[in-house]
């Protein structure tokens, strides 16, 4: 485009500067400030903060709760990725490839949980898991499995797995739509010629659908991993507060409790740095593992 240089510069400044300013003030600055704070001992309430060097990180390495929180986070990452991807891929294929008349109804319904606030979902599912009033125990008792009924969220062993179901329930709709977009974008002729060649539905699924929507699958997996590592603590904080006895404590909930409830801001910041490093490593590793496999057509 031919334009006077000054007009172009002015246009660029208008486009870029206000956005960048807000982004730097409310996202970049807090991030670096958080990194900096992790070298201090600070209650967050007083003016006084003491530089302690790497003491917070030293404490982090020797804190017996930290390995638990990491393991719990990755447990949630793995179970959520498997649960959400298997179900949303199945639903996406069923709603696009099979002749189901009422497909739009399912498509609309399955997105409902994505419209709901995490706090609403958390409260709702706490009720579903409620030992006395809850739907799950009532259902188990109704079919004679009384011995299976338990205080799900208060059970040392079952509390963490119990958090997977609401997360999957809340996530399916969005990823189903994204995968449906990928499948609908595949030229029809490819499936037609596969049918002529005698490929079964199952073969079509493995050898056509999966490779062709691989970019959407990869993006979905990455998105689930990032949002779980950075946001799983919200459902934890609402449903169990990390309990019982840290059985559901994840990195983010521990950060929140340390910084905003126990007022160890410096230590909370160090946990934040740990989350940042682990997420970056995980995302880079996943991108490397899921690289290529793109299928040109």
């Amino acid at each position: 485009m031919v334009q006077p240089q000054r007009q172009r510069t002015f246009f660029l400044l208008i486009c870029l500067v206000p956005t960048l300013l807000l982004f730097v003030v409310f996202t970049v600055y807090p991030l670096f400030s958080g990194l900096y704070l992790s070298f201090f001992d600070w209650t967050g309430l007083s003016q006084h903060r003491t530089f302690v060097g790497l003491a917070n990180y030293d404490h982090l390495l020797h804190d017996p709760i930290i390995p638990k929180t990491i393991w719990h986070d990755y447990f949630l990452v793995l179970t959520k990725v498997i649960g959400i991807m298997v179900l949303s891929l199945f639903f996406a294929v069923a709603l696009t490839q099979l002749r189901i008349k009422e497909a739009p109804v399912y498509r609309i319904l399955f997105f409902f949980p994505n419209l709901m606030a995490v706090v609403v979902i958390g409260i709702l599912w706490s009720f579903i898991y409620n030992p006395d009033l809850g739907l799950i125990n009532a259902g188990l008792r109704a079919i004679g499995l009384d011995s299976w009924a338990r205080p799900w969220l208060g059970d040392q062993q079952w509390a963490l797995p119990s958090l997977v179901l609401p997360s999957v329930w809340a996530g399916i709709g969005l990823f189903m739509l994204m995968l449906m977009g990928g499948i609908l974008n595949v030229p029809k002729e490819i499936y037609q010629s596969a049918r002529i060649d005698g490929a079964s539905e199952w073969q079509q699924f493995w050898h056509l659908t999966i490779p062709l929507v691989w970019p959407q699958i990869r993006n979905s997996v990455l998105y689930i991993v990032i949002t779980t590592l950075n946001g799983s603590f919200i459902i934890v904080q609402i449903m169990t507060q990390g309990g019982p006895n840290n059985a559901t404590q994840v990195m983010g909930s521990y950060l929140y409790q340390q910084a905003f409830q126990q007022f160890h801001f410096g230590y909370g910041a160090a946990i934040g740095v740990m989350i940042l490093i682990l997420s970056l490593i995980t995302v880079l590793l996943l991108q490397w593992l899921m690289r290529g496999k793109r299928f040109e057509y």
Partner: protein
């Protein structure tokens, strides 16, 4: 989607017919998970709405049954004594203005990053992209101090600015994807016609990127309407609460007062408007999201 399968069937009628009984069985079998999931999605939502009409006695006696009397008082209690009314208005303000501000900032930046070559263009784009991976929790501690310094703590305006900043990277990511598909010739023609770059952006590019803009607006709005944790940290007085915090407050109160009906009425007030809006706009939302998935 059905038409595609039918077209394929019409082209090879024998093949399809020979499979039809087996296919019908398979189809029936595959419907079962769809029906089960539909129930799993609908049942808790309907139950929440019904529980909003129940008295406490009903909730304890028959938690998963129908209300014996339809109790509207719960909604009035949630709206006034539970401050859900205040929270509803606050959330609406933050959602509408926040979404508008996000678009106002993200659209020009996306256009510049996608279409105007300048030094540092790729670097800036990658910085925004990388920001999507940052755990927000790390920034909350300094943000708390920053808002305090700016006298924006305990204010929905401060919250609105923070929300906008957090959604800017995602919005840019989606919008640049959509703008990348617009033919460059259109801008060149606009330049030849003597349109300034700003007018080209608002009169030529923005209308063409409308499905992307709507997608981003909806995703941002859902996020702002539903956000809970930052609101919990940054808002302190009940008259500034947004819906998430208001509902959490109702839930905590219910632990002591057993006002479960009021809590579920509050949850209903939070859920129903969004579902109604979604039902109205669902075609656009689905189109935007499926398209966005391909382009993004």
């Amino acid at each position: 989607m059905a038409s595609r399968a039918e077209a394929a069937g019409a082209a090879y009628p024998n093949k399809v017919r020979s499979h039809s009984i087996g296919e019908r069985l398979v189809q029936g079998g595959l419907r079962i998970p769809l029906v089960l999931w539909a129930i799993a999605v609908l049942f808790p939502i309907l139950w929440t709405i019904l529980a909003g009409f129940k008295s406490n006695g009903d909730i304890y006696a028959d938690p998963w049954g129908l209300p014996t009397t339809w109790n509207i008082q719960n909604f009035a209690d949630a709206w006034t004594t539970g401050s859900i009314g205040h929270a509803f208005v606050n959330s609406a303000i933050v959602t509408v203005l926040g979404t508008l501000l996000t678009l106002l900032l993200a659209i020009p930046t996306s256009y510049a990053l996608e279409r105007v070559p300048f030094r540092g263009n790729r670097v800036l784009y990658n910085i925004y992209l990388a920001a999507m991976m940052i755990p927000q929790a790390l920034g909350w501690i300094p943000l708390f101090m920053l808002l305090n310094t700016l006298h924006l703590l305990d204010s929905i305006w401060g919250l609105l600015l923070v929300y906008t900043a957090t959604q800017i990277p995602f919005s840019i990511f989606i919008l640049t994807g959509f703008m990348g598909t617009i033919p460059r010739e259109l801008e060149e023609a606009a330049a030849v016609d003597g349109l300034s770059p700003l007018r080209t952006l608002w009169q030529v590019i923005a209308p063409l990127a409308m499905s992307g803009i709507i997608t981003v607006a909806i995703m941002d709005a859902i996020n702002y309407w539903n956000e809970y944790f930052m609101a919990l940290i940054f808002l302190q007085s009940p008259e500034h609460y947004t819906l998430g915090v208001g509902i959490n407050y109702l839930a905590e109160t219910a632990q002591y007062t057993n006002a479960w009906g009021t809590l579920f009425a509050g949850l209903t007030i939070a859920i129903v408007p969004v579902i109604v809006l979604y039902a109205i706009f669902q075609r656009r939302i689905t189109e935007g999201l499926t398209e966005g998935a391909v382009k993004g």
